[in-house]
């Protein structure tokens, strides 16, 4: 069963020229995919379509068994919240919540994420994941007191808690130094393996490419030629 299946998808704002046209993109469930391309190649737009933030003009966007083009905005939001974990490049955390509250947020918001927890309580699950990521001692600190590396690991915890079936990471390592990148990537892949989540990793840094099952260049799948 495909995790992501895009068919004849095109996207553009209003009457402007299309920014993205993808004849076909198929990612199987459980795959570790490395998506790369220069800036302006349409990476962000592609992620927006898969996450259900943007609506395709034409074509089919099937994610985890649901055709997003036929879902309402709020149904897509719920789909994203309960089936996907999302990691940003930086500033992943809500500044006024503690580390623990940040990690637990998807479970607070979505019953599906809550139900998939194997530990006896959300708190216990947070502690378990946090100790896996070596951030257990920071749980009750305000997020502003954490280093960038620690913040990114908290972001992993929030993305994988409640076992979402798809984890999207948008340039999550670009704010980290070389050593931390390695460590971050190792932990991310390990945790996705544990929950058998599909991992869509976006980066312009080719050096990380070899750690993935499959590498997709956005410039190759996007038929729109950037002007």
């Amino acid at each position: 069963m495909p995790a992501i299946h895009l068919k004849n998808v095109s996207f553009g704002y209003e009457r402007q020229q299309a920014l993205l046209e993808v004849p076909e993109l198929l990612i199987e469930e459980g795959e570790r995919v490395f998506l790369y391309g220069p800036s302006g190649s349409g990476k962000t737009t592609l992620l927006g379509l898969i996450a259900g933030i943007l609506t395709a003009k034409t074509g089919e966007v099937e994610v985890l068994g649901k055709d997003l083009t036929h879902l309402s905005l709020s149904m897509r939001d719920r789909h994203r919240g309960s089936e996907m974990g999302y990691i940003f490049q930086s500033f992943n955390l809500i500044p006024y919540l503690s580390v623990r509250q940040n990690i637990g947020l998807p479970c607070e918001l979505h019953a599906k994420r809550r139900k998939r927890i194997t530990a006896s309580s959300i708190d216990e699950e947070i502690s378990r994941i946090a100790s896996r990521l070596d951030i257990g001692e920071f749980l009750d600190r305000p997020v502003t007191r954490l280093s960038t590396g620690q913040q990114q690991r908290v972001a992993i915890a929030r993305a994988v808690i409640g076992a979402p079936r798809l984890v999207i990471a948008d340039e999550p390592t670009s704010s980290l130094d070389r050593n931390r990148q390695e460590n971050f990537l190792r932990l991310l892949i390990e945790l996705c393996d544990e929950t058998r989540a599909t991992l869509l990793f976006v980066s312009h840094d080719d050096s990380l490419m070899s750690r993935f099952d499959r590498q997709i260049s956005v410039t190759e799948i996007n038929t729109v030629v950037p002007c």
Partner: protein
């Protein structure tokens, strides 16, 4: 929804300084708005509660408001006396159930001395059906007997048996003292929370006796004053009083009697119905009330705009937060709700703080207002007007909150996960 509420609460708490300043400004305007209204109603009820079961107040010809103010609230002075014979005429009138005569003009350290008779203890009523009661002692019956209001007794620490030297006139520091004729405290009244508490009651005979030898308006020369022991009730003749209260046998006769008094041939008199005169007073002060309410509403608008500004300017820093919330599955509508909720929380907390502060201040100051300015303020509960005010404040806050919320909604929809 509960999660949103918790998020809104945490978000506000993280900006504690701005939040508390905004809450403060809204609380202040609510305090003003409600304070003005509560004082208005409190004063009205306080005044209305001071005198009950009295149908007419009668005094020398003059304005009805001054008559009511000096004879019941002890504010201002009587313009003229009325003769005791006129009083007797109406006291014995068939339509009259009872009367209470008042004679004023002397004081004790700023507290009024009111000469009256037994009818006062018998018939005077306040707050519907409360009558004056004694904390100790009993009624003033002898010529040099005095009964103290609770506040006077407390102020000077007087109990029955204490001696008082009353002053001529109403000045706090009086030039002329009735030092030759001291009074003895025979009773102390229980607290009434009306002007009665700040009054010294003596008998009409006492008032006359005090002024024996004062016919020229100044104290008698040394050696000329008759010794107090020689003054007897039988020798005293009551000539004038200041005013009197009337209870008629039936409501119907009140108006007839009022007309009869107002057209009394023997002497120019004025009879007023206290409730109507108070109503006139409130109508007169209505403009002040409206003006104060307008000012407080303006302060409220300023408070709400201050909140709007603080939430709106914070939006740019919160674009990241919006993107994160979108990523964890919040709909743009929920982000709108989150921002509105913050305004609702701020205004609700502000309104509650303002309400509590208004009642706190009212409670703290109703005593001093009464003793220093003679304005009785009753502690009044919530009224529909207050509830409407509070509702308007929260509604106004919600409406104001929609402005940043609409912008956050647009950021959430348009910028999606890319809002930096």
């Amino acid at each position: 929804m509960l999660v949103l509420l918790r998020l809104a609460f945490s978000s506000l708490r993280s900006r504690a300084v701005t939040t508390s300043l905004t809450v403060f400004s809204i609380a202040l305007s609510v305090l003003l708005l409600i304070g003005v209204d509560r004082i208005r109603q409190g004063v009205q009820e306080g005044f209305a509660g001071t005198l009950s079961q009295t149908d007419l107040v009668v005094g020398a010809r003059g304005g009805s408001l001054p008559l009511l103010l000096y004879s019941v609230f002890h504010i201002g002075t009587a313009s003229n006396e009325i003769s005791y014979s006129s009083y007797e005429h109406f006291r014995d009138h068939p339509a009259v159930l009872w009367t209470i005569p008042f004679s004023m003009g002397d004081s004790f350290h700023g507290y009024r001395v009111v000469a009256t008779d037994d009818n006062f203890y018998e018939h005077y009523r306040f707050r519907r059906d409360h009558s004056v009661e004694f904390a100790e002692g009993g009624r003033a019956e002898g010529i040099f007997d005095a009964v103290l209001g609770s506040e006077v007794a407390k102020q000077f620490g007087y109990h029955t048996g204490a001696k008082l030297v009353l002053s001529h006139g109403l000045e706090q520091v009086s030039l002329f003292k009735h030092a030759d004729k001291p009074f003895t405290v025979v009773g102390v009244l229980k607290q009434t929370a009306t002007p009665v508490d700040r009054t010294i009651y003596i008998t009409l005979y006492g008032e006359e006796a005090m002024h024996v030898g004062w016919e020229g308006g100044t104290p008698p020369a040394l050696g000329e004053a008759p010794p107090t022991t020689q003054i007897r009730k039988e020798d005293l003749h009551i000539d004038t009083i200041s005013s009197f209260l009337v209870r008629t046998r039936s409501r119907i006769t009140t108006l007839l009697l009022q007309r009869e008094i107002n057209t009394y041939k023997g002497e120019p008199l004025t009879a007023i119905i206290p409730a109507y005169t108070l109503e006139d007073l409130w109508n007169m002060l209505g403009y002040v009330d409206v003006a104060l309410s307008l000012v407080s509403s303006a302060v409220l608008v300023v408070g709400l705009v201050a909140m709007l500004i603080s939430l709106y300017t914070a939006l740019n820093e919160r674009k990241r937060e919006i993107a994160i919330l979108r990523a964890v599955g919040l709909h743009a509508r929920q982000i709108f709700a989150l921002f509105v909720l913050e305004s609702v929380l701020i205004t609700t907390i502000g309104a509650v703080v303002g309400l509590v502060a208004a009642y706190g201040l009212l409670w703290a100051f109703h005593g001093p207002a009464e003793s220093h300015f003679g304005i009785p303020i009753a502690m009044v509960g919530l009224s529909t007007r207050v509830m409407i005010y509070l509702g308007l404040v929260v509604a106004g806050g919600t409406l104001m909150g929609c402005v940043p919320a609409i912008r956050s909604y647009r950021i959430a929809l348009i910028e999606g996960l890319n809002a930096f």
